[in-house]
C-alpha cells in the first residue's frame, strides 16, 4: 500500500466510503453509487477490502461497469486487494435513494420516484398512474407513456403542457 493510505482499518474504511462517492452510475452520471444506495457494506480486514453491493434490477447491465469502476477508484489510491460481493437480499428499493440523489435526478431531467411503499399497487390494472410532475417545466399535467423506458429502472412519461417526453425513475 502506498504512503497515501492510512494504516488504521477504521480510517481506511472511512476513506473508502469517500472514494466510492466518486463512482457514478454509468447511465445517470450525476448520481453516485452512494446516492443510489447500492453499496451495502465496506469491510476492511488487514490487507483485504470487502465491498458489498446490491443490484437495482436483476438484469441491470451497469453492475459490471460499476464493479470495475470501484476497483479502478481504489486502485488509483493503491488499494489492490479488493473483493466485491453481490448481495440480493434485502432487495434494493428506491427508498434507499438519498435525498441528494433525488434532487440530482430532478436537476438532470429525470423525475425522481414518488412513492416507495409496497408494490401491491402495481397490480391495479389501468389504475391511476403515479402522478409525476414534469422535471422540465414542473407542470402537474403529465401522462404515462410506458412503464418500460430506456433502462430497466425508468418509465416514460410525457408532459401535456411543454409536450416534452421525460424519464421517470420507477418506484421499486
Amino acid at each position: 500500500m502506498t504512503n497515501k493510505l492510512i494504516a488504521n482499518d477504521q480510517q481506511l474504511t472511512t476513506t473508502i466510503w469517500q472514494l466510492l462517492e466518486n463512482v457514478s452510475d454509468p447511465e445517470v452520471p450525476v448520481l453516485s453509487i452512494l446516492d443510489l444506495g447500492i453499496v451495502r457494506d465496506v469491510r476492511v480486514a488487514g490487507e483485504e477490502v470487502h465491498i458489498t453491493i446490491t443490484p437495482t434490477y436483476s438484469g441491470c447491465p451497469a453492475m459490471n461497469t460499476i464493479a470495475t469502476e470501484i476497483r479502478l477508484q481504489l486502485l488509483a489510491e493503491g488499494i489492490q486487494n479488493v473483493t466485491i460481493h453481490n448481495q440480493l437480499s434485502p432487495a434494493w428499493t428506491t427508498a434507499w435513494l438519498s435525498q441528494a440523489g433525488r434532487e440530482k435526478l430532478a436537476a438532470y431531467g429525470i423525475a425522481p420516484p414518488q412513492n416507495d411503499t409496497a408494490t401491491g399497487h402495481m397490480l391495479k390494472l389501468f389504475g391511476q398512474d403515479t402522478a409525476v410532475p414534469c422535471p422540465l417545466c414542473q407542470s402537474a399535467n403529465t401522462h404515462l407513456v410506458s412503464q418500460f423506458g430506456s433502462t430497466a429502472c425508468k418509465a416514460l412519461y410525457q408532459c401535456d403542457d411543454c409536450h416534452e417526453p421525460f424519464d421517470y425513475f420507477k418506484c421499486h
Partner: protein, 266 residues
C-alpha cells in the same frame, strides 16, 4: 467481479437433496432463459416502439433472474461448471423449461397470451418462494417478485386491450388462447423432482397457487370480455426434457457463438 449472486449461507443438504435442488434450480433458470430469449427476438420488430422497449425490458429482467439461478445451480453442483456452461453447452433434451415458454412468438397476441400465462404463475410462485428455507432461492425470489409484478401488469392489461378491443384484435387473441392454453397446466403440474422438494418444504406447493391464479385469470378475462377456456387437457413434457421441435432451433441460435468459438470471452 465475484459471482453476480454470492449465495448466502444455506442449510447443509444431503447429496440427494442437493441433486434434486440442482435439477430444480436449473429448471427455473432454463425457463427464464428460454422466455427471455423469445422476448428478445422481438427487439427491433415490435408493433410500436414503446412495446418493443417493454418486451426488451421484460427479457432483461428475466435474464437477470436466469443468471442468479444458474450461478446458484453451478455452486450446488460444485463441479466447476459455470453459468455459461449451463446456459450454452447442454443439449435440448437436458433443458427443463416447460413447453409454454419455447413456443414461438407468433403475432403480438400470441406473445401476450404466452406472457400472461407465465406471469400469472411466476408472480404468485415467487411471492411464496420468498418464504423458502433455502436462503438463496428466497433472496432471488425477493429480488424478482417486484419485477414480476410489473410484467404481470403489462401482460394482463394487454389481454384486456386485445380482448375488449377491435374485431381483429379479438380474433387474434382468441386464436392465441386456443393455441396456447394446453401449455398452461404444465406450470403447476409437479414433476417427481418438484413433488419431492414440495414435500421437503423447500418450494411452495403448486396447489396453493392455483386458486389465486384462477381468480386472477377470471378477473382479467372478465374485463377483457373473453371466456376462460374450460377442461383443456394439458400437454406436458418440457420439464422432463421432452421438448417440441421449436427448442432445437432456438438453442441452435442461442448456443451458436459459444459452440463455434469454445471458451470465447468478451
Amino acid at each position: 467481479m465475484q459471482a453476480a449472486s454470492d449465495a448466502p449461507a444455506h442449510p447443509t443438504y444431503s447429496p440427494e437433496v442437493r441433486h434434486l435442488l440442482f435439477d430444480y434450480v436449473v429448471q427455473l433458470a432454463d425457463t427464464s432463459l428460454v422466455l427471455g430469449h423469445r422476448l428478445s427476438e422481438w427487439c427491433g420488430h415490435g408493433p410500436v416502439l414503446e412495446q418493443d422497449l417493454a418486451m426488451a425490458n421484460i427479457a432483461l429482467d428475466l435474464l437477470g433472474e436466469t443468471r442468479s439461478l444458474y450461478q446458484y445451480a453451478a455452486e450446488l453442483e460444485g463441479q466447476g461448471r459455470t453459468e455459461d456452461d449451463l446456459a450454452f453447452l447442454r443439449v435440448a433434451t437436458d433443458y427443463r423449461n416447460p413447453l409454454l415458454v419455447e413456443q414461438p412468438n407468433g403475432d403480438f397476441a400470441h406473445t401476450v397470451v404466452r406472457q400472461f400465462l407465465f406471469d400469472n404463475f411466476h408472480y404468485h410462485f415467487l411471492q411464496r418462494l420468498q418464504a423458502s428455507p433455502d436462503a438463496a432461492l428466497a433472496a432471488i425470489a425477493e429480488k424478482s417478485v417486484k419485477e414480476a409484478a410489473y410484467h404481470l401488469k403489462w401482460s394482463a392489461e394487454w389481454i384486456i386491450r386485445l380482448g375488449d378491443g377491435t374485431e381483429e384484435s379479438r380474433q387474434r387473441i382468441e386464436k392465441a388462447i386456443h393455441k396456447l392454453w394446453r401449455y398452461a397446466g404444465e406450470l403447476t403440474t409437479p414433476t417427481p423432482t418438484e413433488q419431492a422438494l414440495q414435500d421437503l418444504g423447500i418450494i411452495p406447493q403448486y396447489s396453493d397457487l392455483q386458486s389465486s391464479m384462477a381468480a386472477y385469470t377470471a378477473q382479467v378475462f372478465a374485463e377483457a370480455t373473453l371466456p376462460v377456456p374450460q377442461n383443456v387437457p394439458s400437454q406436458l413434457g418440457g420439464k422432463q426434457g421432452r421438448h417440441s421441435e421449436y427448442l432445437g432451433y432456438l438453442l441452435a441460435e442461442l448456443q451458436y457463438m459459444q459452440r463455434t468459438y469454445p471458451g470465447l470471452k468478451w
